[in-house]
Amino acid sequence: MAALASTESLQLMLQVTGLSMHFPVYKGLMRRQIGEIKAVDDISFHIMRGETLGLVGESGCGKSTAGRALLKLYQPTSGRVELDGTDVTALEGEDLRRIRTDMQMIFQDPQACLNPRMTVGSIIAEPLDEHTRLSRRQKRQKARELLDAVGMNPDYENRYPHEFSGGQRQRIGIARALALEPKFIVCDEPIAALDVSIQAQVVNLLEDLQQQHQLTYLFISHDLSMVRHIADRIAVMYLGKLVELASREQLYQSPQHPYTKALLSAVPEPDPEKEAIRERIILQGDVPSPANPPSGCNFSTRCPIAQEQCMRETPAWRELEGGRYIACHMVQ
């Protein structure tokens, strides 16, 4: 966990203002644009240095797209992303390439994100080839150190990814993300593809590395219990928009947005006695298509407390007491 007490950690690391990522939809012989998918629609938040912000939501809500747009892996439609004071969205070419050393990503599928034809050592050293002028020996030394840092035997450097299990491959992915000593890492569902007993190992590793290297994480996940463990603050996303952002204690003890409430009540608890007495909010229907979102509040079609106003007006993203944010007409 981040030590928020020290003065340095109170600095702003990432400031996101009105970020949108819309994908055009083309159809017909002339490939005319007939609409757009608002994968991420006007989201704003900030992350402090050394902090972990959890980003949760169901599949298709745009959380991975948001993570990629932050790193400028996509060109955002509008909005501004400032990393440590630098406006990332405005950068291009060589300047953008330079700042990439500060921001890295850990991917969901450890099977797909490692090149099967490269040895583990060369996978980890590849960012160094691209961004540093280290000699071959120095790079090899660095790769061995990184393997050691993620809890693997440095002598594995000449092996290939298929020789490792899912958890070990995820460790290799983490070592590669650390190679350039970034300040900010987007963890895109890093434990979703792993077994329960391996998930805890990887989460503990991520927390240890955060302490050693003063890292700032955006932790994208759909596992609400794991996010509760790792994140300091949590943002909840629904259909391209943020609906609630609060500290861990606030969000889990007194969720305000009706979607957050439903989401938390849907998480099964490993305790039969609690399960038997639990009040569950069962949402009706499915998430609407982002190509054709409902008018007004995006959640209004499934919301148990929606009023006429919710169908008409989009709720504003506003700050409540205690540093929490919400977008809902019904919450005072």
């Binding site: 077994d195 329960v196 998930q199 009540s265 490993p270 305790d271 039969p272 069962i282 949402l283 499915d286």
Partner: protein
């Protein structure tokens, strides 16, 4: 909210499925893989048996072996007996097996995206399944299909029969799969990770549906999952599998309140909770799941076990029964070590360094 019955058996329950000493091996070029070892369990009508384990623990292979769904070779299924309503599945001919699959035992697969054929309408696929097992006309089968869709909570069922699978969302497709498996009112339903590919809010909908169906139809259900939370909510009894074997078997409350096998204990400890106090550091099980080559000669969990002692490395522990219908396969629970005046295993020896 539905009110669940207590885990105790009702007098009307009878055993529909009984498996004794099932072993499944795969003959591969690199030698034999022992995917399932000495698995025995039974299922009664109206009961929900949860099967929990990590990937590769043999839970899916066990269920597929029951229905002889595994191609042979490479698979080789051996058992003392697999009895469905007293009839031995292993000695059944092809015709009888076809009757059993879908007719007597329904199966729901994990991935609703790939279990439906994308080029046929949902109505066609449902009626096909119904007419395979029941001697009724196409028209009657269609009516029955619409009825089934309505039962699993799909709006406008008659119209939706004309739709193709891609026009349904993931949760809806899983509902279609459930409808299909219910078509012939099977006595046993095997659900292989039916909600793993779904979001939590959709998972909650499906779990609610299964609770209702179970109450109305009185089927015996085997629910395979890796999520202990899901099992806690719906199961009567739980089997925990590790390395192709049953390591613990108990009624649901007993299992969660009083886990006996170190693996179950560790698994419960690694899961962060959504409302209990938050620990600074997650408990983690070190090491990797076992490889399944060769028949087990020692406890498969021993290399990762905090309590392992010398016996665990020399011999695979048999499953032993304890109080409260509780069974576990662990030397620490074996009568040799737990009985009064017996030899006691050395406390807490860490053998991890030796691996």
């Amino acid at each position: 909210m539905t009110v669940r019955e207590p885990a105790g058996r009702q007098s009307s329950q009878q055993v529909v499925l009984e498996v004794n000493d099932l072993k499944t091996t795969f003959n591969t070029r690199d030698g034999q893989v022992h995917a399932v070892n000495n698995v025995s369990f039974s299922l009664s009508t109206g009961e929900l048996l949860g099967v929990v384990g990590e990937s590769g623990s043999g839970k899916s292979v066990t269920m597929m072996s029951l229905l002889k769904l595994l191609p042979s070779p490479p698979a080789e299924v051996v058992a003392d007996s697999i009895l469905y309503e007293g009839r031995d599945v292993l000695s059944m001919g092809d015709e009888e097996l076809r009757e059993l699959r879908g007719g007597g035992i329904g199966f729901i697969f994990q991935d609703p995206m790939t279990s439906l054929n994308p080029v046929f309408t949902v109505g066609y696929q449902l009626t096909e399944a119904i007419r395979q097992h029941l001697p009724i006309s196409k028209k009657e089968a269609r009516a029955r299909a619409a009825e089934l869709l309505a039962k699993v909570g799909i709006a406008q069922p008659v119209e939706r029969l004309r739709d193709f699978p891609h026009q349904f969302s993931g949760g809806m497709r899983q509902r279609v799969m459930i409808a299909m498996s219910l078509a012939c009112e099977p006595k046993v339903l095997i659900a292989d990770e039916p909600t793993t590919a779904l979001d939590v809010t959709i998972q909650a909908q499906i779990l609610e549906l299964v609770r209702d169906l179970r109450r109305d139809q009185g089927m015996g259900i085997i629910w395979i999952t890796h999520d202990l939370g899901v099992v806690a909510g719906i199961a009567d009894r739980v089997i925990v599998m590790y390395g192709g074997q049953i390591v613990e078997h108990a009624p649901v409350k007993e299992l969660f309140n009083n886990p006996q096998h170190p693996y179950t204990k560790a698994l419960l400890a690694t899961m962060p909770s959504i409302d209990a106090s938050r620990s600074e550091r997650l408990y983690s099980i070190e090491g990797q799941p076992p490889s399944l080559s060769g028949a087990p000669t020692r406890c498969s969990f021993a290399p990762r076990c905090e309590y392992a002692f010398d016996r665990c490395l020399e011999e695979n522990p048999p499953i032993v029964s304890m109080d409260n219908n509780h069974q576990a396969a662990c030397w620490l629970r074996h009568p040799q070590y737990t009985a009064q005046g017996s030899q006691h295993p050395p406390e807490e020896i860490s053998l991890r360094e030796t691996f």
